[in-house]
Symmetry: C2
Subunit: 453 residues, 2 copies
């Protein structure tokens, strides 16, 4: 939407709310899809969000449910906490189970039980089952609604059965199971459309089905769906019994989320930190990381402190300290970013880790030589002291080597100890490039002290 | 795949290639899907990659085509350059046009023309048309193959028509057009399945179709598909004539690519830089950015140089310089990361930019006060000099304020001047936090000089 349109909708909505003109508000909003309304929702105050949700619910409950399912679970939970339980329950009736689960987890125990209790039997069971799976696994993000039929069903009965089932999320494939509900094959709706009515499904199904298990990590599910160009992937339990399906729209959310997590973890941010959060909530989330950073950033001062005598004699060394540190940090950040994305999107295992390390070190040293020579030359021209140029050049070459080494090893090490490869990698890197870079620089400065002063 | 399996496949393949046992190589590989083989391909040498592709082609041309379409376009182009043109052409016959276009763009003009010439008429036209659209637009990533039928066609004729058309990429929707080929509606295969044979499509179609135009930026296409949970989106020209479809598997590639670009641009990396590239290629790509970084990183030394006299008198100030700079950099990186992702995934416009700025500044100042107080206290305990603690604390508070201000404004400013909000943001940020942070710290040090020495 255009910026002007957004402003207009927000201002008009606000006006209608203030004068209590809910019918006018509905007339304004009814032409927009839930994702559009969800995109605007954060421009409204808490109170306005509530009025908006209730207005949608009163006129078209599906739109109210659509709005909740498009919002971040945290935001949705915050609103439903504040509307009457009966209204909330009615809205939840039109939400698919996989959208209900994450919201319910965030509301008060009382509201959760009340909603679970008043939902009809089947969805309640489904939501409860979803909540039993670990967070960030296939079991948690899957939808239990899917078309699954016995392998001996024929095409014509399959069509009737699907018609009776009504709307389900995985509306692109028909999964085929045996008498024990074990996944045997898959039939696309296209195949159903083009097959003779009396053909049994087992004759037209593809038996080579790609599937995941309930405990498969959601990131792995996303990779499989992306690599095989699927629009839905069936989820089985450990006995290969079909329990659900993950659709590609959920996969896109996972991929967005994981990409944001990569960036956030690199710079030591809590993955739930958002610009819309209150300042207080962000302060609480960032402070622990900053306190840890205070520790990692305190290593370099100890190094510099050791060389106080040298600096006292050649203050010019202090002048170039920020430059040596910054160049190491910048080059190291590049290596970290490449490694983190490579591990996230690709499958860099130890088999190619040595190659990556070797390559980055070659790049680091070569770039270090170019930048170091240039910097050494410039500083020689400016200060007329060839030894300062030498010390500076050598320090930069060494620090770019350190940056490459540490920048490659940190993500690989974090992965090896089963942590997220991005976790705080920029902070750790800065700790090494600052302290080791300054150690080299000031160490060389001490070595050449008599030529510098 | 397990690491052991990967090792085994690679080693066995290599052995078979060395002894020229292509049949054995095929027997080994035939059970794997193209994405699996694509995942391994970078473990092989150039020569081995060529043998592998030709072996696949000789036994199952579709697998060879599948492998090319799963590989990065650059990698695929490198291999096809080196195989006989006739072989390449045959493989291209089994590639969809939207996969051909990006590869052809990277090969020599001679090979490109030769392949275009020898492909049958229709795909050639399609590929040429795709190549006419701007890079990174819907027109470039769309597939021209789709099910499109006139609104007056009835369901039974539609099924026959789709059967005759054979396999197309957008096999989930049937698009409905008028006599001028203008997009009028969409019918899902489910609706076709459940409708009476003599119903005209216009009676069952959904008229509220979400579509994009050929020149829509691919990132915007991805956002629309993600927001509306689509599996395919039709592409029209400026007259609303239907010209293609973008499917969700291409969208996932776009989202992955854009996320990688966000991270890469933040740390000033060329977006095509990959760990598998040769060291020389990465050196060439990173050197220009490092040279620019040398400039941005050279601002801080000028600041420090101005305060040489102060440092000469109180060398302890030099000791704490890296700490003040690092804390500003870390806090600023957090703000930059949040803003970049927010602008990428959300729709932060100027309407909420002021809010974001205000919020980040509040967070920066509050966290600055906590960290500054703590650091001031610790340094007082260690050095017994209350003024050093005061200078250090105030400098940290100020630098976290600067980091918040600059970290919010850089991405917003880059966006305003129509550049990528992530572009070099970490370098720019470091330039400000290093120089302004040290200016504050050493400035305050000069102010309190007589109490410090």
């Amino acid at each position: 939407m255009k910026l002007d349109t957004i402003r207009l909708i927000i201002n008009s909505s606000r006006k209608f709310m203030n004068i209590g003109a809910r019918q006018k508000l509905w007339n304004l909003l009814k032409n927009f899809h839930p994702p559009d309304i969800a995109g605007l929702i954060n421009h409204f105050t808490e109170r306005e969000k509530i009025i908006l949700l209730i207005t949608l619910h009163e006129n078209d409950n599906k739109k109210a449910a659509g709005l909740l399912s498009e919002m971040a679970a945290e935001d949705a939970a915050e609103i439903v906490q504040q509307i009457p339980i009966e209204t909330a329950t009615k809205i939840f009736h039109d939400l698919p189970s996989d959208d209900i689960a994450p919201i319910l987890e965030l509301v008060s125990e009382e509201l959760k039980n009340s909603i679970l209790h008043s939902l009809e039997k089947k969805p309640t069971e489904e939501v409860k089952e979803l909540l039993e799976h670990e967070e960030e696994t296939a079991g948690r993000i899957m939808s239990p609604n899917l078309y699954a039929l016995n392998e001996n069903t024929n095409v014509s009965d399959a069509i009737t059965a699907m018609q009776l089932e009504g709307d389900v999320e995985s509306a692109f494939y028909l999964y085929v199971v045996d008498d024990e509900n074990r996944l045997k094959g898959v039939v696309s709706l296209r195949q159903v459309l083009f097959s003779k009515p009396n053909t049994p499904l087992k004759n037209i199904m593809t038996t080579d089905v790609i599937n995941v298990q309930t405990d498969t990590d959601q990131e792995e599910v996303a990779r499989i769906v992306a690599d095989y160009n699927l629009v839905a992937i069936p989820v089985t339990d450990s006995q290969m019994k079909l329990v659900g399906v993950v659709t590609v729209d959920d996969i896109i959310d996972v991929i967005d989320q994981e990409a944001t997590e990569d960036i956030y973890k690199m710079v030591s941010l809590d993955t739930s930190d958002r610009i819309q959060d209150s300042p207080f909530s962000s302060i609480k989330k960032r402070l622990p990381f900053l306190l840890l950073s205070l520790l990692t950033a305190s290593v370099a001062p100890f190094v510099v402190n050791y060389f106080k005598g040298t600096i006292q004699e050649v203050v010019t060394l202090a002048v170039f300290m920020p430059l040596v540190a910054a160049l190491g940090g910048i080059a190291g950040n590049q290596t970290v970013a490449i490694m983190v994305r490579e591990i996230a999107v690709g499958q860099t295992e130890w088999i190619s880790a040595r190659k990556a390390l070797f390559k980055e070190i070659v790049v680091g040293i070569c770039n270090g030589i170019v930048i170091g020579l240039l910097l050494g030359l410039v500083s020689y021209v400016l200060t007329r002291n060839p030894y300062l140029g030498l010390v500076l050049g050598l320090a930069v070459i060494t620090n770019l080597f350190i940056a490459a080494l540490v920048g490659t090893l940190i993500p690989l090490f974090l992965k090896m100890v089963k942590l997220d490869p991005a976790l705080g990698s920029v902070n750790l890197l800065t700790m090494f490039t600052d302290s080791l870079g300054l150690l080299t620089f000031l160490g060389l400065g001490t070595l050449f002290l008599k030529y510098l002063s």
